[in-house]
């Protein structure tokens, strides 16, 4: 066994021939196509059959098994004869990397080409020496050259060229070409391997995605079923309590009425929680249907103000609404949803304020924007808590004991205001009351812009 001297291709013909091979091989990315083209192209495109080349085999390292695997074989009559004779099928003719005497392993490890006149050098293992010699005789091969396939200094495998002529009859041009050819093979194999890996992972991702979509549908079903199942008993509790409280069963003692009213309030909280959970999942998934229309924000604010007046009065709070005379307030929204937002802010303000006032203030901070503020003289909210306030399931700790909310109200407000291209926020310091506010673009601002979403 001797090393074959290797040079860079020099002649114009060699460069052209290599260009042709590169085009054929690099044209495809599918691994099976690539490895077939590698062993066929030299014979079919450049007619190396005439030059005495009979069998070309591509061997690649199997990353998992630490063996060199024969992956493809040229379709010549000699190759077919060989396949009929061998006792081991071609895909199983592995060479373990520990077989250091095997020329395939040697070329791979040394990253140098070798040649041999004796087939046991390349076929043992897996075959015995006798078998190897008999196969060589059968196909009348005189020489086999083993070239490492190298990319960026890393050997991927080897190419074996078996010829019916001696090494002395291999011209310098052939050697140049084969040297250049193995470089192309290296690139092609690497590309194909990367491509296959990419395809594998994108297939895996696709499957995962499909599973996630299925899970998402199941989750929707689950939320909807759970909500339904929870609502039925709550409906019965609410129904019977309301019937007793409304006097359907005649007068009841005040103390009992108080207890029942408390029970009713707690049940209402459960109903709100389920409703809010359903709302959140609908808004988040974009399934909520909005009834958009042009409407004056002042009107919505006044409706909410009227709704909460009695409750604020009962608590001894001064509730007021301030609307500048020349306000621009026409917005393009779902009025019910904006009503929900303002009601939520006012309800919180009334709930957490024991003395003083609750004010609803409208203004135009910018020509194309309208702002609603809900200010109160309550305990205020620390900077730390302000940051987390609009998050899902967050509830203010500093006022615990009073918190009977669902922890979803402000989160829903934020989702809704952002849905209508607005912003929501809060100004507060400890002990100085809080001002919750949101700003929405006026309808005319949208009309002036070209239609976007």
């Amino acid at each position: 066994m001797k090393s074959i001297y290797r040079t860079t291709p020099e002649s114009k013909e060699t460069i052209e021939a290599l260009w042709k091979l590169a085009k054929v091989i690099l044209d495809t990315l599918d691994f099976k196509d690539v490895v077939t083209k590698i062993v066929e192209s030299l014979l079919s495109e450049l007619n190396y059959l005439k030059l005495g080349y009979r069998i070309i085999v591509l061997v690649l390292k199997d990353e998992d098994d630490n063996v060199l695997k024969r992956v493809s074989l040229s379709k010549t009559s000699e190759a077919e004869k060989l396949l009929e004779a061998t006792t081991i099928p071609f895909p199983k003719m592995d060479v373990p990397l520990t077989a250091l005497d095997n020329l395939i392993v040697k070329a791979f490890n040394d990253q140098k080409p070798y040649y041999t006149n004796n087939w046991p050098d390349i076929l043992t293992p897996p075959f015995s020496k006798e078998e190897s010699f008999s196969y060589q005789k059968l196909v009348e091969v005189k020489t086999s050259m083993v070239y490492p396939v190298i990319v960026k200094g890393r050997a991927l495998g080897v190419l074996i060229f078996s010829l019916v002529k001696t090494i002395d009859d291999v011209s310098q041009e052939e050697k140049d070409l084969i040297g250049g050819f193995t470089d192309i093979v290296g690139l092609a194999v690497q590309n194909a391997q990367l491509y296959t890996a990419l395809e594998d992972s994108s297939k895996k991702l696709e499957n995962l995605n499909k599973k996630l979509r299925e899970l998402d549908i199941q989750k929707d079903e689950f939320v909807s079923m759970a909500a339904h199942e929870l609502r039925s008993p709550m409906t019965a509790i609410k129904g019977y309590l309301s019937m007793v409280l409304e006097g359907d069963m005649g007068d009841i003692p005040d103390k009992a009425r108080g207890f029942l009213a408390d029970a009713n309030a707690i049940n209402e909280r459960l109903i709100r929680l389920v409703n809010n959970m359903l709302n959140v999942s609908r808004i988040e998934e974009g399934r909520l249907v909005y009834q958009l229309e042009k409407i004056n924000l002042t009107r919505i604010a006044r409706t909410v103000f009227d709704t909460f007046r009695a409750e604020a009065d009962r608590k001894g709070l001064q509730i007021s609404i301030e609307i500048p005379e020349k306000i621009s307030d026409e917005i393009y929204v779902d009025p019910d949803k904006i009503n929900e937002v303002i009601a939520n802010l006012v309800s919180n303000a009334v709930k957490y304020t024991d003395h003083g006032f609750v004010k609803i203030i409208l203004s135009n901070p910018l020509p194309d924007w309208v702002r609603v503020e809900v200010a109160d003289s309550g305990p205020g909210i620390s900077k730390e808590e302000q940051k987390r306030l609009f998050r899902k399931f967050y509830r203010i700790e500093s006022t615990s004991g009073k918190t009977i909310g669902t922890g979803l109200g402000l989160y829903i407000c934020k989702l809704l205001i952002e849905k209508f291209n607005g912003t929501i926020g809060l100004d507060s310091g400890d002990g100085t009351g809080s001002t919750f506010w949101f700003e929405l673009p006026l309808a005319r601002a949208k009309e002036r812009l070209p239609e976007s979403s």
């Binding site: 039925s232 019965a236 309301s242």
Partner: protein
């Protein structure tokens, strides 16, 4: 599969139920024989009992069915002024039942109110397409509020 021979017995039971509740309902105004009839299609017996009690005390006649098939049968064979329909029910879902009802000549003009705890956009849309007057969420309303809405449709 329901045994067809059991059907008459079931009706008798219902009649008995109505009789007994009418007898004990001395404190509540007795529904007049010409009182408007509401067909309640509701599979939850507890809720059915609750609404039935309330509606009878409001002077309405109540027919009850606990699944879609029974509801469809009563809607087509009895004199019914208004149908209150739950959606999630055994045998035949509320909306499937309504679709079948609407396919019959007699069933096109029935006044139907959906009363359910299911709030899926698709269901609401399908209900509205089937000519439902209102889509009410049980948990958001007291029996009194439901009764008021029903009476408004009955012109009372």
């Amino acid at each position: 599969m329901p045994d067809p021979q059991q059907e008459p017995q079931k009706i008798q039971e219902e009649e008995r139920l109505e009789e007994s509740s009418a007898q004990e309902a001395n404190q509540a105004p007795k529904p007049a024989t010409d009182a408007p009839t509401v067909l309640f299609i509701e599979d939850d017996p507890l809720l059915l009992k609750m609404y039935e009690t309330k509606f009878k005390s409001e002077g309405l006649r109540v027919l009850a069915a606990q699944d879609g098939e029974e509801g469809l049968r009563l809607a087509t064979t009895e004199k019914v002024d208004l149908i209150i329909l739950d959606l999630m029910m055994p045998k035949l879902s509320g909306l499937d039942m309504l679709e079948r009802l609407r396919q019959q000549n007699k069933g096109k003009s029935h006044v139907v109110i959906v009363l359910t705890n299911l709030t899926k956009e698709e269901e609401i849309k399908r209900a509205m397409d089937l000519g439902v007057k209102e889509y009410l969420v049980k948990a958001d309303l007291t029996p009194n509020e439901v009764a008021s809405k029903v009476k408004a449709y009955l012109g009372k």
